[in-house]
Each structure stands twice: as C-alpha cells, then as structure tokens.
Amino acid sequence: MIDPQDDDSADRVDDEPPDEPPDDVQPDRVPPDGAPPSGGRESAGDPVLVADGGFGDESGATNEPRISFYGGKWASTIPLAFFIVWAIFQSGVLGIGDTNGLVIGALVGTILGMFFARGDWKTYADTIFEGMTQRVAATAIVAWLWAGMFADTLQVGGFVEGLIFAANALNVGAATFPAAAFVLCGLLATGIGTGYGATIAFVTLFFPAGVLIGANPVLLFAAILSGAVFGDNLAPVSDTTIVSAVTQDADIGGVVASRFKYAIAAAIPAFAAYLIAGSIMSGVSLEGAVALRESANALGLVHLVSMGTVILTAVAGRHIVEAISWGLVVAVAFNLAFGLSSVSDVLVFTVPEAGTFSSLPFVAVGETAGVGGSLYTGATGFFPLIVLTLLIVAMAQIMIRGGGFAAIQEFLLNSVATNVRRAELTMVLGTATINGMITINTAAEIAIAPYIARIGEKFNINGYRRANILDANTSALGYIFPWAGGVLVGYQVMVGPGGLGEQYGAEMVVNPIEVVPYVFHGWFLVIVFLLAAITGFGREYIPDRISEEVSRA
C-alpha cells in the first residue's frame, strides 16, 4: 500500500481535475430534494473512472421513506428538532441539567411528530420500536450499566481520598495546585469514566483544599473541569467513549488506544498552561483549617490498579463487559481486603426489622426497605440516560424512515463535505455546534452520531477516527460554557444547600462564565482536532485496519 503526500487534486468542487468530463456528463449527484439522480455516465462499461465517489446512491427502492408526513420529508425531523429546541431551552437557557427533563422533551417531541404522520399511525409507532431495538442502543446500555457499577465501587473505595494523599505527598503548593488538580482529576475521571462524577468529587473535596492554601479559585475550577474533559474523552468506561465507539462500529479498547495521541497532544500544553497561569493568577485570602486534607488516605491509590485492569484489558481487545467485570472484581477485592469499604457499601439489602438473614454482611436493618450500595447506585444512576438514549434513537429512526435524515445527509455531502478534508471539518464543527447547544453531552453525541457515521463512511474514514472526532468536542464542550452540564454540576456543589459558599463564604464560589477561557484541555482538544482535520494528523481509512470487538459485542 502506498501513502502519498497530501494533495487537493480530488476536491471536486473548487478545482475540477483536468481529466474530468464536462459538467453535463458529470457522474450522478443527488439533487437537494433527494430525487433520483438525473445525470449519469454515457456508458457504464466505459473504463474512465467515476470522479465523485458515487454519492448518487440514496435513491431507489432501498431508501424509500416508509412514513409519509404532512409537510414532506422535512416534517420527519420534527421529533428530534423539537427535542433539540427543548434541550437548548432547558439546559442552555434555563441552566437545568436534568436528564429526566430531557426524557420528557423526547416523549413530547415523539408525540408531536405523530400528528404530522399521514395515514395509519401504527407505522409511526412501529418505527419507535424499530429504533429502540437497534443494536447500537443496546450495546451502549450494557456498557453503561457495567461502567456505572465500577465507577461507584471506586468512589466508595476511597479513590478520591487516595488522590488527595498523592497531592499532599507531592507537597503541592498554591501555584502548582491547579496543574496537580488537572492531572489527578484526569486520573479519577479516567478511572470512573464520568466527568460529572469526577467534577463533583473534586469540587467537593479538592477544590476547597486548594483554595484554602491559596490557589486561584477560577483557575482551580477550570483545571478540575479540564481533568473531567480528559477522563470523559479517554476512559474506556466513559459514557461518551462508549457511545462514540459503538455508533462508529469500533471496539472500545481500540478507540481508547487510538485516542491517546490526541488526548496527550492537548494535555501536555494544558498542563504547562496551568503551571504558568498558576504562578501568575493569585489566590484569595481565606482563613480556615485545612481539615479536608485530613481525609487523605494512601490506600485509596490501590484503585489505580483497578483502573489499570480495565484499561489494559480493554486495550488488549477483550470485550468491554469482560474488561469492566475484571476491574470490578479487583476493585471489590481491594475494598474488602484493605478495609476501604464494607460489603454493605458495595451491596446492601435494607429490611425494616431484624430477622433470620440480618446477620449477613449485605443485609442491614433500616427505616425503609430497599436495595443499595455502589453496584445498585452505579447501575441505576444510568437509568435516565438509558431511557433518553432509547428515545433519541427512536426519533432518529423516525427521521430515517421519513426521509429527513437522507435529505440532511445529501445536503451535507453535496454542498459542504465535498472532499475528505471538508468532510472531517464538517464532522468536527458539526459535533462542536450540537454540543455547544445541547450541553448534556452524551445526549448531544447520540444525536449527531448517525451523521458522523454516514459522512465518514462516504469517505471510508476509519471507525476509530470517526469515534475520536465525535468524542473530542462532546467531551470538551460539555465542560467549557457556563450552561454546560459539567460546569453546572460543579457550580451546584458550590451554591447548593450546604454547599461550599455556605461553608466557606462567597470566595469559594466561582462564576461559571469566568472559567470559560481557562478550561485549557477542552480548548486544546478542539484545536487539536481542527488541526487534525486540516493536516490529516491521525487520519486512518477503513482499509487500513479493521475494528476487532464490535462483532462480538
């Protein structure tokens, strides 16, 4: 295989190659209205090769819309469009980061779209089921359930306290505290896979410790958010990593390995930027005991091994369910062996009255009967996102069956993504735009994923590359803007009932808009991918290598 230097000879929009036939005999292109192509080569047997990659492919019986809408095929976008508007209003305008609220938006949008469907509404209803039963949704759901159990088991096992110990042991001062927070929060987020969870843990414990020793609060909060971006982007157990991989037909371990280069290219300058900014930006003057640092516990660092087990097993090509299961076994064993948590912290059945089984370590007596522990909270914590995912893929399926999906795709392919570089830029900017608007980043990622898949496939861009483009902006922009879900959860820790503001005063509360310029890793990740699309850094094509795991998922 030969890999030549880049050239633009194939840009069929701006520079027609000299060997192209005149416009009136150009190969088929799909008209904007999605009608069958009208042009065509004079002779199918002619040895001259087609020039446009054959984008005129969406016509014919295989792509006939199955649902007819009042208002044409664009009306099939109503459910998803309504949901996006709802999501922007809820999360962007009102600043409410509630996934359950988005579920209601999706339900209302789905009902609204039905009123525009012509004829028997049974077809519309059947399409909802058809969408929900797609493999892409099931694969993500399974991975989330496992990842949730693992993440919460690390939390109850004192991983955060271990990281605080590491900061103490390294004698981190005020100037270097933001850089240390970036690295340690990145480690935590990579381990537990949820940037939101890492943000909450670090803003609760690490942020006040840093501010009390003189670190700049704005920079420190931004550094924590940067760490969350790093972990959300790279962790094999991250919800966004999982969605990016399974929607692009790529194995999760391979995606993590291929993503490493982009993450490091952004993280190294971000670390340097935090060191420099930390020495320039002064802290606030606060009197108070640094009692939080007393929570440090070296033993919590054993979960670096739990985390490493998942990462290495996944990268080795094992199924993500197997990888996380091994990590979970190791984490539970460490928790119990080192006394980091009790059995009931991991799993507990609470009964109102003592009985035959109440002596068992996983049975407790309490006021209310129920099941709890890290396995329970970890899995159930993903339930709202799972329901939302099912509804989003159902809405996307309605759009596909109604012809709206093909119409948007044809517009992008015929007018915007006309060569591979423009296609990748379209993918980067498209994910940035949708993530800038829908700030619960996994929801945004699921909504844009089908377009990334189809646009990328039209240029045979490898699934790993597509997954990386999809996830970079999803991870980054979910933690930069003031209305972003990641920023809001951290801010909530500061201003909520009994939050840092009440405990320490107004100096411990950071205005979300102030952190925007300082989420260095997020910004650098966006820049890295813009440059990667332009220069071809990291680009791989489908023939280069084949994903390993998805066929076994």
Partner: protein
Amino acid sequence: MSRFEKFLAGWSFRGSTPDYEPGDVLEVMVTGDAGGETVARIGDSTLRIEDAPDDAVNTRIRVAVETWDETAHRGTGIYRETVGGSAF
C-alpha cells in the same frame, strides 16, 4: 495488531488521496452506485468495483485491486465478498 501497536497507529499526517497497488485486497465501504458503476471513495481516491451486488451501496465488502492510477488516484477492483454493513 499488538497492544503497543494500537497506541502507535495513526501517529502520522495522512494524505487525502491514499494509493493502492494491484493485488491489494481491501475491506472498504461501498460509497456509491453512480451511473451503473459501483464505487468506493477512500478519502478523495476512488475505486470502481466490478461484479458487485446490486445492493452493495452502504455495505462493507472485500475487494481485490486490479488496476491503480497513482496520478489520478483512481483504480478498479473485483468484488470478493460482503463482510458487513453501515455502522448506523
């Protein structure tokens, strides 16, 4: 591919017009069916595929490269088998 190689893959600036040689057997996504010709666009290079099924578009196939023009970044190949479909 070893674990280490997975981390090293893609550390390069890749061109937009990959070239191949006759005899290469590739796994590609069929991207179009224009004017009766089944084609796979790989980056900005184009591979015309002969003997492909009528419904090959948006399927992943194995194809043996027959000819390749490195100047025009275009070639022809023979369909071998269908190995998968679109990711979404």
